[in-house]
Amino acid sequence: MWGNSCQGLGVEALQSGSGNAFKWAGRDLIISRPECAPPFGIGEAFPECTIQPYLETDMSVNRREFIKIGALGLGSMSLAPKVFEWGPSAAKTFPVQPGDVVTRAPTYCEICFWKCAGWAYTKNGRPWKIIGHDEDLHSHGRLCTRGSSGLGLYNDPDRLQRPLIRVEKDGRQTFKEVSWDEALGFIAERLQALKETHGPESLAMFSHGNGAVHWKTLVKAFGANCIAAPSFAQCRGPRAAGFYLTYGETVGSPERTDIENSRCLVLIGSHIGENLHNGQVQEMSKALDRGTEVIVVDPRFSVAASKARHWLPIKPATDVALLLAWINVILEEDLYDRDYVARYTVGLDKLKEAVRENTPEWAYPITSIQPEVIRETARLMALHAPATLVHPGRHVTWYGDDTQRSRAIAILNALLGSWGRKGGFYLPQSAHVPAYPHPPFPKPAWSPCDFTRALYPWALSPVASHVRDMTLDPPDPEKQIKAWLVYGSNLIYSLPQPEKTIAAVQKLDLMIAVDILPSEITGWADVVLPECTYLERYDDIRTSPGRVPQIAVRTPAFEPAYDTKPSAWMVKKLAGMMGLDDYFPWADMEEYLDHRLQQVGSSLEEMHELGVKTLPSLGPNYFQPGEEVTFNTPSGKIELYSQQMADAGFDPIPRYTPHAEPPDGFYRLLQGRSPFHTFSRTTNSPIFTELMPENELWINPQVAADWGLKAGQYVKMQNQDGKTSQFPIRTRITERIRPDCVYMVHGFGHSDPRLKRGFGRGADDNEMCTTVKIDPLMGGTGRRSNFVTFITEGV
């Protein structure tokens, strides 16, 4: 079984020593938690990088209609209890008046997955502000823009308010508001029926977020084990695979990148500064202040690029060529860390051999980066090594050869000797807080994930897009996925080829969505369970890795608004109805948390006071000079050359293969982050939308001139497969992007009218992702092989 929590395998697992032994690829592997086992068994079929356009839009056979607000009626709105009114009532200049009652509760942020700890404040009983926790290693007392805006989620007037069940009314499908008993009873009954007809294995779960723990337990207790998250095959999966194949460990989250101490920081498309992962932003700023050499490779003049001494405006999709050329220079000019490479790596000679031809001159016409620039930057990296960090990126599902690109990055770092060294990658530590004991889970007879493993050998976690595809088109008619439980993941926006997602939902017997907003995915559900926001609930203890082990708690700062509930409450009640009480032997979250905290010498009471607690360090953060290290790879070394990849029929050393070019009049569509939003989850919320109500399409002035486009004009996009964007998008004519591509921020253009602020504001990049390049190593969905042109008429 894999949870998406399995990303952190590595040091934590190896150091704790008390874990279970697993066999993988013929070797023993020690993992502390059984659910963190990597995939077993290498499949036979190794598809080439496949291009799969998906455009099926004929929805005439819909079993599920997408339910819009019209069907909901206005009744629900007038019933709404009054939520925090933010603003005009504070009539004086000073926000705090004598006599004001201010309280605070510890929490950690859920706006993205960096999980910064902070304090949620109330003033005179009303929510006031959220600020960072000084002791917290993720935030150092400062939340990012989105974390500071967290009340916007709580304040969103469009929030789900009470459970909904899909019913047929006057020949139309609509949602009926029901009681919690009714909603959960409905689910219990339908899951029982599912178990009888298709077996428990036919339930698949999608999740993203900390509230999912108990749902995962429930799913496993039920007898299923397919729990996928878009944070793997749509995000950092290729990086996990690439580093796993090289170092036997992944980079984890928060990344073990020692940016703070780096003397040379290389960012390949990683747009820290817009990507606001807090710790990284803070460390990058420290590094910049210290004068760290920054090299940014990005087709766009990103914020990071604007801070860098070297900006390499690379032609998109050619990074592997640049990486190989860098490796070439470092090897040809003998710039690598000889001792480190000799001590820790295997395959140097084969690597030298493989990249011999990949000179900067070779890379120049491919990447458009001048050979001198390639040489100069390579030398800089070597000059500062091992305090040179070639950042592995995070969202790396770009072109389908992403594991190989991540491998190239991993190899480059190995040559510079930065893994396990100060200023490179530190050795992370995370707190080990024993789980609340529960009976063993039943063993599923089969798992949809078996098919994934067979297809993508280094899928270290379930592949959400593949689970979807298997739902639509089961590889074995006897083993079908017939129910989805979707927790906190707006799959319509996070999985490419949204038409396919919708088509897959049509084939289900049951679709349950747990969300805080009427996000698009909820419009396709049979039952919608409204969760309260992270500010209104307890959640599990944060134990994520860092330089020292630390724990943090999330406690409810405010009463849940409307009739919303925390997942723990929902799951416990549902488990009761399903006869699975045994798996939830605690009375409530307070008891659950207190029990777990007691085992690390703390208590819930203490954590209410502290919020964050640092535990004793487990050891050094870097390799000691001359230390012998056994890596968790088949050779026990860092694998510059990967025999296991060769055995499985893959390139053992990354190789550059050209990608499709945009047709005439089309531009490669690139996507990224805005500091003001997280995916599609904040693009409807107050505060967030004030700062950025819609996204823009970045277009180079040359291109704009060719098309006669004006700044701020609305256009629609049409892609190579003829797909036109549902909503128009404003143009931003800017020098900050190459002329062969356009760029937009992901997460806008909501299509569910229940999301009143976000509906039709800006456009959705995901609907343009009809073509996907699948990473054959781990099933990642490369989304940047879509090309768009502009439609100006009738917009």
Binding site: I131, L143, N278, F301
Partner: protein
Amino acid sequence: MAAKKRYAMVIDTKLCIGCGDCVVACKMENEVPEGFCRDWIVESVTGVFPNLHMEYRSERCNHCSNPPCVHACPTGASFVDDESNITLVDPDMCTGCKACIAACPYDARYVRPEGYVSKCTFCIHRVREGLDPACVASCPTHCMHFGDLNDPESNVSKLLESRPFKVLAPEAGTEPNVYYLI
């Protein structure tokens, strides 16, 4: 009586990433009504691809040493705090005539829904408690600094001594107290 303070904000444009955290922090701390803000981020891009330069600036009231807003105010609602150079608005005296808005070259003021004028207060309520303003305290890049320019030992004085800087629209003669390190 302690010497009058000359509070200043010094913002390092070399580090500012334009994330807007300062804007949100201000909104939350000061309960700025929806649709209004006391500070904002300017992005300034110069050059032609691929030779580009970009600067982000977090802007707000400059707490000018020569504040035309205060000069323009017919009622005295806009005033300079006795102990410092912080420009404030007294809601109880403000008529909403908007003379001060017309007078401010930085468009730093706005009329609140209740009818009186508001703007950045340098978080005087926090500063009096010895805290940094909310925006400064939240900035994830630590590119904002706050302190007393009358104190040569203060962080801000030292930064201005050691680094090149600029202020906005110096020609307007307002003598701004928000400085940008360049």
